[in-house]
Structure formats: C-alpha cells, structure tokens
Amino acid sequence: MSKTPQTAGASHGARSYPPRPEAVYFYATCLVDMFVPEAGMDAITLLEREGVRVIFPDNQTCCGQPAYTSGFPDEARQVVESQLDLFPGDYPIVVPSGSCGGMIRWNWEKVVANDPALKARAAAIAERTFELAEFLVHVLDFKRPDQGPALTVALHTSCSARREMGTLLVGRELLARLGNVTLAIHDHESECCGFGGTFSLKHPDVSTAMVSDKVASLKATGAGQMVTADCGCMLNITRRAAREDLDAGRAAPSLPGEHLATFLLKRTGGKPSGEHA
C-alpha cells in the first residue's frame, strides 16, 4: 500500500502559548456533554491532576458549528452570541475537540462579524481557546510516567484539529511521552474519516466509503485500539467498525476507540470515569 504524504500542521501558522494558569474554562461541546461525557470528565480529571482548577460554565450549549457548516449562518450566529458571555475571567478556554475548538478559534468572529463589539469579544475568546492536546503539551507540559502494559495504538487526528488547530504533532507528542505505547501510523493517515457533520447524513454513500477505508487502514496497522481527540470522528469510526463487527458476527470490538483524554488518564494511573464509546 502506498503512503500518502503527511501534512504536518496548521495552515494558520504557529501560535504563542500562555504560562500555566491557575484555572481554565472547560468548553465541553454538545457532543461530549450528551454522547461521550466520560471523555469530558476524564479531560477535566487530567487538567485538575496537573493542578489546574477547572471551571465548567453551566450555560454552555454548542459552538454553533453544525449550523455554520450547513449553511445556516443566522442560526449559528444566534447560538454563538449566547456563548460569548461564558468566559468572564481571563483564563484559557480548553476544548476537548479539534473541530469545535477550530470553530471557536476561526469562525466565531466571522459569524458575528456584523456587530463590531461582538466581533471583538469573539476575537478575544478565540485568542485564548486551546484544543486539549495542544494545551497539555504546550501549556502544562504533560509528562506523567506511563503505567500501562506495552501497547500499539493508532492515532486519528481530525481534519479540523490537523488543519485548523495544528494538533497532529501534539497528539503524537503526547503518545510518544508514554514509554510503553507504540504509535502505528496508518495508511492515508491525513485523510478525512468521512464524518463531516451533516455530510454523513446527506451523502451516506461517499461518507460510508470514506469511513470504511479509514477503518480498514486503522485495522491494517494491527494496533490494539484507536485514539483520537475528536468525538465526532471517534463515533463515526467506532460505530462503523461496530457495524462491521455486527455484520460479521464478531462479539469483541475489532477496533475499540478512546478519546485521547481517557487514554492518557488510564495510562498514567488515573481513574477513568466510564467505559468505551
């Protein structure tokens, strides 16, 4: 099988990181809140274990991305406007999802651009919004000893994380810091898993072709599991793999997947909050 060229990082250039803060805002995203809460909880535990106080704004709902990318900018704007009040303090905002992080960092400003005051607030929020993995590496310098057995894993980096947040390398870096974990690079690693939000609903044929190829590439590495920092991709990939298992009559999941936060917590002696997605 041929290896496609890997694209390394953000198309938006490097950013600067703040010193270790006393506290952070945790913006969970609707998908984590309702569908994969254990990933959010494990991310919170990870942050707290590093000595950072985690503030969970109770009025958080959704970053507005589904409406924005579906071409409903007005609806996206209403939701974004409702979220601009959530972060009154000066603390960094940590998001356990590359695509929601990308939405806040690059698109909130565009969505509310008609109102200069709101635009300025959105810009200020964007400036202190970080994807979890980049925050762990660049701000907290996360380095806990690996306590797990030898394991090979495959890493899927979402397109938004890769291209908007530039977090392919930090994901790899976090795994590399775990002594007993080997990272298996899968074929066509940089290729989209086929989720794309409403794309997976609107164009199921192509979306299925893409996710099936992704599952096959991940499995071909022989890795025991897949790790990713995006719950959209994770659900897409693991639910496709589960469907293949179901169709083939396999009892055990052939491609278990975990959020990077859960994986890191488990490997470094923490107590994860739930079970697999």
Binding site: S2, T4, P5, T7, S11, C30, V32, D33, M34, F35, V36, P37, E38, G40, M41, F56, D58, N59, Q60, T61, P66, A67, T69, S70, G71, F72, P73, A76, Q78, V79, S82, C159, R163, S190, G194, F195, G196, F199, S200, L201, K202, H203, P204, D205, V206, S207, T208, A209, M210, V211, S212, L235, N236, R239, R240, A242, R243, L246, S273, G274
Partner: protein, 488 residues
Amino acid sequence: MSAHQQTSTGGKDAGKPIAFVSAQALRERMHDAVNDPHLRQSFRGAMDFLMAKRAAQFPDTDELDSLRSLSEAIRQYSLSKLPDLLEQLEANLTHNGVQVHWAETPDEANAIMLGIAQRHAAKLIVKGKSMVSEEIEFNHAMEAAGVGALESDMGEYIVQLAGEKPSHIIMPAIHQTKQQIAKLFAEHIPGVSYTDNVDALIQIGRRVLREKFEIADIGLSGVNFAVAETGTLCLVENEGNGRMCTTVPKVHIAITGIEKVVEKLEHVAPLFSILTRSATGQAVSTYFNMISGPRRGEDKDGPEEVHLVLLDNGRSQAYADEQLRKTLQCIRCGACMNHCPVYTRIGGHAYGTTYPGPIGKIVSPHMMGLEQTHLLPTASSLCGACGEVCPVKIPIPELLIRLRGEANSEPHANPAMVGQGAGHNALTSFVWRMWARVHARPGSYRAFSWLATRFRAFTPKRQGGWTAARTPLQPAPRRLRDMVKDRR
C-alpha cells in the same frame, strides 16, 4: 448567464451526446461510483501517484508557503485590476495583430468561433487542451454546424473517441485503463489492431494526429496566463500538440476565461512554477508557449491569423462579490481534486459538471446557476485538504459553506447568485430554526439534553444516513454537566 447545457454524459451515460449531466442526479451517480470497485481502485491509485509527485516537488514547506502566498497575491492583485487589465490586454493584443472577441455566454463564444471557421471555409479544427472549450461544449457546437473538431491532447483524444467528457481537468482520461484505450483505438482507428502496449498506443495516436495537424484549417488552444502589458498568451503543455495547434494551421483561435489575465510578464514565472509542481509534480512542463501575435514577415512558421475569445459565463457574477471573487484566483492545476477524498472515491464524471472536484463545486454554480448545482457544495466533508494544497490559497471550504448558505436561504431580492434559494426547504429551515432556539437558550438546551439523556431508550434506532453503515447513536445515561455537578 446562460441556461444552455445539461443533459447527460460520462459514466453509465457514456456514448450519449456529450453535454452536461443534471446535477440533481448527483446522489445517484455518487452511489453508482462508490460501488464501482474498478473506478475506486483506479482513482485511488492515480491520486496517490499525483499527491506523491506534488509532495516531492515541495520538500521545503517554508518555500512552498511563501510561493503560495506570492501566487495568491499575484492572483488577487490581478483580479483587483481586472477590468483595466482586460482593456490593456485587448489593446496590446490588437496592437500585436491579434483579434480579440468578447463572449458573455457559451453560445456567443461558439457563434464567434463558428463565424471564424465559416469565413475560412474550415472543415477541420485541431484542438490543444482547453477546459474552457469543454465548458462551452465547443466540439458539439462545431460538429452540429458541420465543422470537425479533433482533440490532439492524448488524454482528450481518448476521451473524445470514447464519447465522454474529461474526468479530471489535467488528466482527462485518468478513468480509462490501458486495456480500454487499446480497445477504443482498435475499434475507432482504421488499420489498428489491439495492443495494450502503452508506447505503441502513444505512437498510434501520434501518427493519427500528425496527419491531422497538416490538414487542419484552424488550431484551437486554451490560455494559462494572458499578459496584459505585453499582449502575450501563455500556454503550458507537455505533448507539443499545443505548439502544433498554435503554429501549423493558418488560423489560431485561443479561448479563455476573463479571469486568466495578469498584468506583467514577471507575474507569470511564479504562477507557472507553482502550477506545474502542483498539477503533475513537474518542476517545469515540457513546453511553454508564448504567443504574441500572428506570423510576421520574416517568420518561418506561425498562423496568419490569431484570435482570442474571452469568455465570461458566470465569472463576472463571482467577481461582483468580494468573497466569491476568490473562486477566480484558480489557475486550474487540479491539485484540489488530487487531494480530495470525495473526488478520489467518485471520480470526475459523477459530478456532472465540466470542472469536477472541489474547484468544480465552487465554480460550477456560477456557470450553471444554483438550480442545477446546489447539491454540489454539500458533497464535501469540509476536511480542508483542497484549501491546504491550493497553490493560490483559495479558501475552498469557506466558499463551500457560503454556497450552502446561498442555496439554503429563502429566495430574496438582489441575490448574489443566479439560483439563490434553489436548495431552500421549508422543513429543513424550520428544523435549524428550532435547533438554534434550543441551543441559543441555555435553559432550553439543559431541558432538551436532560430529556434526551433521560429518555435515551426512545432514541430512534434508524438514524437516516448515519445508520446506513453504522450502529445507531444514543445519548449517554447522564450528561457531562450532571457528572460534574455530582462530583462537587
């Protein structure tokens, strides 16, 4: 804007008259394409090859990024002065002895070129590769009027023999295997027996075309860059057929879109460099032609007459909008399709447009109107691979989102595009309005998410496109906010 075009072609419609496919049938064609293992395999292999070739040309990402920024700046600068540059181009070309024609629609462009052909009593027009000629269905228009139009680019020649349209803007016959080409040649070229030896096939094609260059009355070509200050038409090609078309016949007609103009000759070098490297992974193309007029007294070759047809076909609509104008930065390298996971899986014909892939999704709506094309911008996961490799930094995902919005919104006065609102659906709009209501009010969202988790057992097991290939989604028993609260 023209309402011409759109009936059928390519894929399973191959062999029918060549014209555009209705974009409404996009889903059906995508379904057929992804279920064609031969197509899947051949496009995957070809795109992997082209991606690797491109990557090998750009080992230094800083150099790539600065060249992309420079190229973007040149294209944006050129577009910012487009009306002036077009006038300057016309003046300098006219001064050089080139006759300049303006066409708003494909029909107008074809009528202009047919007029030239008829004035010369032309029987055969031999063509270099030109996507704009595909865009206006040139071959068809000429044939309908009794003038032969023969493709001389090897890929285009194969596609023409097969009665298809190009499936890729740079590699028109990429969907054909050598065995299929061997069969085509044996069937269509007198005296040729089946061989799938690639070198032999190329020699057969060369031999046929060589004779045609000698007898053709008119040569047609596209244009990669038109230089305003010198009145020069630049043509990038690899096979030498472009040079033959533009020097051997007595008349040369060039056709291009109005966006292809640059101000200065020095603007061409960076664009040329990034074009060939992005397109085919070549440091430079085999041929680079610069045409600045017809044969002059002492010249040993060259046409006696040179024409340039400048086509609008929806480009001025894109131009009028600051954001959509970025569509016109395109230099037609095809890198976006080479890197597109959707294009890789469905090939070029499924799109049903002259220009397939990501660039096709953002340019076709201007050429054909959103009524025909409003589904195209939805056929993307917005992964961003196209924008990442675009040599002139067109923000393709952002433009796709914009086009989705133009299609979705209720039809209104003074739309930015023909067909605005063509994808508007009252139910869908209602659903999004409700979605916004829930998510823009934290209290509503808390109630909604509480209900969704509490009554998770009632989550539908059939979830449309999602469960077509995946196990269903179900909300967790408890929300993250509940877990956070409990812990404290």
